[in-house]
């Protein structure tokens, strides 16, 4: 539901049903709501059968990449020769995204239950939930829930541990996350080897996002066929998705809708539209790492993996950043570039240098010192930052720059020609 707002009739509340209910945070309160019933059944099932149900449901990763969850689980060795691990990615740091935070704050047991189900499916006896360091409140709530659930003995042989990050966006990249758990700098690893073969501590590992795992118990409870029917457009995108809407919008918050829901309806109906007197200029539909959509594209966009690609962007994490006609796109793109420059792990030259130079050039333009060739320079730089590095952080920095210049070129030109006054000091 549109927490902190009342649920809208057009929402399909599954994961967010108990947002705002303080009692749902306790073990007793969760059991009263039907919690942990599925886990009891699952722990008696053959692990491969659990994976089959999730595979059949069409569930895809909610962290950003949209990889089929059941398929990912099936990559783990069938015959267990070494310890298997599950890592839960709760390092939610993608600008515009704040859904995993709400899942952990309001329904910590939903995540714990999903984690235990996944651990059983991949035959892992240990699961680490990696929570970003800044999430002090979700961490405390998760810790309390874990203590209560452990006391009730619901996880069988599975051990779940919380691991606190310490301020690094890049640790949300799965291989960086594993390095961080191992007590290393959060540098992403070159793949292959893939985590299912050589993951955390060199053992077979699966990494799943919080929202993905919170959906899993619902699938096992209601069946794959039921979940597959939750699709308004493409049959390849199933289930519900939490969209975090923020920026220039009347009612920011998390909204849960069925895959394929129109972005236009989300913005104008569920979120109450732009602030009074303002109109929509642009929208980033999937967290800051995906290309910017202009107004027309946004209003045509259907929110599922295929629908957003059709409009030239990606569904990503479902973090929807809204820009109204008062937004200075050049300034906002500079802020995003600055974010990536700050968060680059600095392993790869294209990223370390590219994110920093892109930021400097954008700042120069905003300070009225831009050169005529700067836009070409930015595009050239962006090309060298795309598809050339160990992870996609540098690609993510290039995405808003390239789409921004393409769609809002006149705003850049206004600074370059001196029509618009500089907003940064030279």
């Amino acid at each position: 539901m549109g927490y902190p707002h009342k649920p809208h009739p057009k929402e399909t509340v599954l994961l967010s049903k108990h947002f705002g209910e303080v009692d749902a945070r306790t073990y007793k309160g969760w059991v009263k709501r039907g919690g942990y019933e599925v886990l009891h059944q699952v722990l008696t099932m053959e692990p491969s059968k659990v994976t089959d149900v999730v595979k059949e449901s069409g569930l895809r990763g909610r962290g950003g990449a949209g990889f089929p969850t059941g398929l990912k689980w099936s990559f783990m060795p069938k015959e267990k020769k070494k310890p298997h691990y599950l890592c839960v990615n709760a390092d939610e740091s993608e600008p515009g995204t704040f859904k995993d935070r709400e899942i952990m704050r309001w329904t910590p047991h939903a995540l714990l239950e999903g984690t235990a189900v996944a651990a059983h499916a991949i035959q892992a006896e240990v699961a680490y939930i990696y929570i970003r360091g800044e999430f002090t409140e979700p961490y405390a709530i998760m810790e309390r829930a874990l203590t209560e659930a452990n006391a009730a003995g619901v996880f069988g042989k599975i051990k779940i541990h919380l691991h606190r990050g310490a301020g690094a966006y890049i640790c949300g990249e799965e291989t960086a996350l594993m390095n961080s758990i191992e007590g290393k700098r959060g540098n992403p690893r070159i793949k292959p080897p893939f985590p299912a073969a050589f993951g955390v501590f060199g053992m077979p590992t699966t990494i799943n996002n919080v929202e993905t795992l919170a959906a899993v118990p619902h699938i096992l409870q209601n069946g794959a066929a039921w979940y597959k029917r939750l699709a308004l457009s493409s049959p390849k995108s199933t289930g519900t998705k939490l969209f975090s809407v923020c920026g220039h919008i009347q009612k920011p918050g998390n909204y849960e809708v069925t895959m394929g829901f129109p972005l236009k309806d989300l913005l104008y109906e569920l979120c109450g539209g732009m602030p009074p007197g303002r109109t929509l200029k642009a929208c980033i539909p999937g967290g800051s790492s995906v290309p910017i959509l202009n107004r027309e594209e946004s209003e045509r966009c259907l929110l599922d993996y295929e629908g957003v690609v059709e409009q030239g962007s990606m569904l990503g994490s479902g973090g929807v950043i809204v820009f109204d006609d008062s937004a200075d796109m050049v300034y906002q793109i500079m802020r995003l570039a600055r974010f990536y420059a700050h968060e680059s792990c600095a392993q790869c030259t294209q990223c370390r240098e590219g994110t920093a130079w892109a930021t400097k050039i954008l700042e120069r333009i905003l300070a009225g010192q831009g050169k005529a060739a700067d836009l070409d320079l930015l595009l050239d730089l962006s090309e060298n930052m795309t598809g050339k590095t160990i992870c996609v952080l540098s690609d993510s920095c290039a995405a808003p720059i390239v789409s921004g210049i393409k769609k809002f070129g006149s705003e850049f030109e206004a600074y370059l020609s001196g029509k618009k006054h500089p907003v940064l000091a030279a």
Binding site: P83, E92, S93, E94, P95, G96, T97, F98, R101, V126, R132, G133, E134, F135, T136, E137, K159, H161, H163, R164, G165, A166, G167, A168, Y169, S180, I181, E182, G183, K184, R185, G186, F201, S244, V245, C246, G247, H248, P252, G253, N254, S288, G319, I321, F323, A327, Y331, Q332, R335, L336, R338, F339, H342, E343, C345
Partner: protein, 171 residues
């Protein structure tokens, strides 16, 4: 920069962090991982919670406790932005100014905080030693712009108007 286990001339003798309860906590943490090194981030958090920041000598102690080298520990400390390598004010304030919050006026919140706390400058500590304010990238609460983290308290929807009262609560 030198990393040494011995006290610098003129300073008091080093008091180890990992004794008593904190050492017990570390031992419990070690049972969660198959490798000692994995307890590095948790150990550094324990140090920062106990001392407010992580000095070179703290890093050497952590290295000794976990069987690592001081240089390795320093390499990890410097990677993660939440670990303080210098003392900070009694209250440490982190304000999100990334795009979504920026659109909603985060920069005005920063100015109000610098003013109300007397810290004046980002990263500097106020003359009374009480406040350090920094800008941070995305705090992951974009729908509750502008989020501010004061020590371990996560405060949502801060506006410049709310700042003076908020600051008074911590005085």
């Amino acid at each position: 920069m030198s990393v040494t286990a011995h006290p610098a001339p003129g300073t008091e003798e080093y008091q180890p962090v990992f004794t008593g309860k904190i050492l017990d906590q570390l031992h419990e943490i070690l049972t969660r991982y198959p490798a000692k090194q994995a307890a590095l981030l948790p150990a550094l958090w324990l140090v920062q919670q106990a001392r407010g920041w992580i000095s070179d000598r703290n890093m050497t102690e952590v290295a000794e406790v976990l069987g690592l080298t001081p240089a390795y520990v320093k390499g990890v400390v410097t990677f993660y932005t939440m670990f303080h390598q210098h003392p900070v004010g009694k209250h440490f304030v982190q304000v999100c100014t990334t795009s979504p919050c920026n659109l909603c006026g985060a920069e005005a919140v920063v100015r109000a905080l610098l003013d109300a706390t007397g810290a004046k400058e980002l990263g500097a500590t106020s003359p009374d030693g009480k406040w350090t304010v920094i800008e941070v990238e995305c705090l992951g609460a974009c729908g509750f712009a502008t989020p501010v983290l004061i020590d371990d308290d996560f405060i949502e929807s801060v506006t410049p108007e709310k700042v003076p009262q908020l600051v008074r609560k911590y005085k």
